[in-house]
């Protein structure tokens, strides 16, 4: 109980200047909750529409595909926000340890911090969701817009969503705390992260095997009914995304080594070394949006397919709209994620920024290095994913000979998304300047 009282007193006496990270963390939790509620509202609406007579059954399935696509970037953002709460706290928690707080008490204080911010963010997310519903309802699917009532979730699902956001926050906070070992001497030591193993490639082979089995057993699966078939497909997709996230950091690490070895400027050298030193955190900024870029790229041909076809056949148009929408949502998630990740990194490195600045390092160099560690992997992974997707669908594009509406739409969304992520990376500049000249 004393830890709870201590935490409350620390919260009440927080200085104005130390509130920026808290504001960022709460914003990130709010965006996470908002996305979860909006997507869940969409799934609910499509499911309800599918139960109407004569409705296409494919929509609930497609909405679940969008959910599978957005799970990783959403969870990533929640986790990044929780890490930010720890980054800001480690020195203070170490001092508490020195003053006699037990490891359990400091852990409890950190968890209360993350939990309180997640809860505040979740409440803000609910308000945001209610405020944005009329705008979301104007999206056209199945030839008509939504009723706000179709998209509004009941109290039960909202509570489940809030609980999920809280769970991600607390879990990530606990994992982050493990990386900061707070010794009784009051030293907050960064425990070096274990390196990446090539064993991460193994699940790719397993998943490849699963796909082969699923394709060969296609007829059997169809015999089991559409629900089971759809579940297997969504499961395989989710598996593919999970594997993508396992292999991604390895790619970033290799890319970092190549960039570091060939760097001619100190900014590129720093960016390359940073990528190979902590590929997981770099991947968090670019992974989600790259994955969605690939899927949206593959689906970009669908609006074109309807041209000249039956105007009533809106499924393909809707797939294109859904893909663009998923890309936009994942871009927003990636941008907030990047902003939060960069902010917590700046806070983690505040002492180094200060000493580098004192020793005559231009802040412009530090800014440029941070920008490069975002845009180099972003261009490579997102650009690579987009180009690969377009390569895959290029035969279809050629066959259609229709104006590549979907592709232009896709490229526009992708470029806007990338620009948003880069802008978010810039957002922590004032924080660097504050840390350097402290």
């Amino acid at each position: 109980m004393s830890a709870v009282r201590l935490w409350w007193s620390l919260v009440r006496h927080a200085h104005g200047g130390s509130r920026l990270p808290a504001v960022l963390a709460v914003t990130a939790f709010a965006v996470t909750t908002w996305v979860v509620l909006t997507v869940a509202g969409g799934v609910q609406a499509f499911q309800a529409r599918a139960e109407l007579p004569g409705a296409e059954e494919i929509y609930p399935f497609l909405s679940w595909v969008a959910v599978a696509l957005l799970v990783v970037p959403t969870a990533t953002l929640g986790a990044a926000a929780a890490r930010l709460t720890v980054a800001r706290r480690d020195v203070r928690l170490a001092r508490l340890r020195l003053a006699g707080a037990t490891s359990g008490q400091t852990t409890l204080i950190a968890l209360l911090d993350a939990g309180a911010q997640a809860l505040t963010g979740a409440v803000a997310g609910i308000v945001l969701d209610l405020a944005a519903l009329p705008a979301v309802a104007r999206l056209r699917f199945q030839g008509r817009t939504f009723d706000v009532a179709e998209l509004r979730l009941g109290a039960g699902p909202v509570l489940v969503a809030v609980a999920a956001v809280l769970a991600v926050a607390l879990l990530s906070c606990a994992v982050s705390l493990r990386r900061v070992s707070l010794t009784p001497l009051g030293v907050a030591q960064r425990v070096p992260q274990p390196g990446l193993s090539w064993a991460r490639v193994l699940p790719v082979l397993l998943l490849g095997g699963a796909f082969v089995v699923a394709f060969n057993a296609g007829s059997v699966l169809l015999g089991l009914g559409t629900v089971v078939g759809a579940l297997v497909l969504v499961g395989l997709l989710a598996g593919a995304f999970a594997v993508f996230n396992l292999v991604g950091p390895l790619l970033v690490s290799v890319l970092g080594r190549v960039v570091g070895a060939r760097a001619r400027s100190v900014e590129t050298l720093l960016a390359g070394r940073r990528m190979s030193e902590d590929p997981r955190s770099v991947w968090r900024s670019v992974g989600g949006i790259s994955l969605v870029t690939f899927v949206a790229g593959c689906l970009s041909v669908t609006p074109g397919m309807t041209q000249g076809g039956d105007p009533a056949d809106h499924v393909l148009t809707d797939i294109g709209t859904g893909a663009a929408l998923t890309l936009v949502i994942s871009a927003v998630l990636a941008a907030v994620s990047t902003g939060v990740t960069q902010a917590s990194r700046v806070l983690d490195s505040r002492e180094r920024y200060r000493t580098l600045h004192l020793a005559g390092t231009d802040l412009a160099v530090l800014h440029a290095a941070r920008a490069r560690e975002t845009w180099i992997p972003l261009v490579v992974t997102m650009g690579g994913a987009g180009a690969l997707a377009l390569l895959i669908v290029s035969p279809v594009l050629g066959l259609l000979r229709t104006a590549p509406v979907g592709v232009v739409w896709f490229l526009g969304c992708a470029l806007a998304g990338a620009a948003l992520v880069l802008l978010a990376a810039r957002a922590s500049r004032p924080l660097v300047e504050a840390c350097a000249s402290r």
């Binding site: 030193e277 004192l358 020793a359």
Partner: protein, 229 residues
């Protein structure tokens, strides 16, 4: 010949006088220890001498250049090119191996990478760190990390090296070893050295010691030739 001359330095924070009419000269290649209790103004003096802080009054002259007449950007460049810094801790970039950390000032000044890392590697070996060039700070002991910081401070052939409690985070034996290396390698490179410390033992490694109290230099003494080293 004096390389650094400060006259009539006054630094006030509200009603507190952190520096109260301080005169300091540092000769080329000379090592000066600045000692005193906490709050005596020694770190403020180091920051003013290094052009990090602008004093409320007084002047700082580096080999004929008036530091206070320079713009912020010019002083940043001067700190990079003419000064070296060793802090208590927290100055090495965790993602860079030792030789790139040490080469950083040269890289920042636009030197070719191969030449910069080669020069840094030579300094690391001189400081007893042969074989650790590719290790990152997380894989080095506290004493080794401070020696990398010393290599970084000297790699650009600075005129003056400023060290703020460079042994504060080390045990006594390692601290002495590091100080011995800092003073001798700075001397070999012809760099003057200004060390802020509250450790009386540090003075034995320096040519001259300034004792500060309440923002004033209250006494100074010169080590006997050969000193207690």
């Amino acid at each position: 010949m004096d390389i650094l001359t400060a006259r009539g330095l006054v630094m006030t924070y509200g009603s507190t006088r952190a520096l109260d009419d301080v005169d300091v000269t540092v000769g080329a290649g000379e090592s000066v220890a600045v000692m005193g209790p906490s709050g005596s103004g020694k770190t403020t003096l180091l920051h003013v001498l290094a052009g990090i802080l602008r004093p409320s009054a007084g002047s700082v002259d580096l080999a004929g250049t008036d530091l206070l007449a320079l713009s912020d950007a010019q002083r940043t460049r001067l700190r990079r090119d003419d000064f070296g810094f060793v802090f208590q801790s927290g100055q090495l970039l965790p993602e860079l191996p030792a030789e790139e950390n040490a080469a950083l000032p040269l890289l920042l000044a636009g030197a070719p990478r191969a030449a910069a890392t080669e020069r840094a590697g030579g300094l690391l070996r001189r400081l007893g760190l042969a074989g650790t060039e590719r290790r990152r700070p997380g894989e080095l002991s506290g004493g080794q990390a401070q020696r990398v910081a010393i290599a970084r401070a000297l790699v650009g052939r600075p005129k003056v090296v400023f060290a703020d409690e460079p042994t504060g985070a080390l045990d006594q034996a390692t601290g002495r070893e590091v100080l011995d290396l800092l003073t001798s390698v700075a001397r070999e490179h012809g760099a003057a050295l200004v060390v802020v410390t509250h450790d009386a033992g540090v003075a034995r490694w320096c040519d001259r010691t300034l004792a500060m109290r309440d923002g004033r230099v209250v006494s100074q003494f010169t080590a006997p030739v050969g000193g207690a080293r």
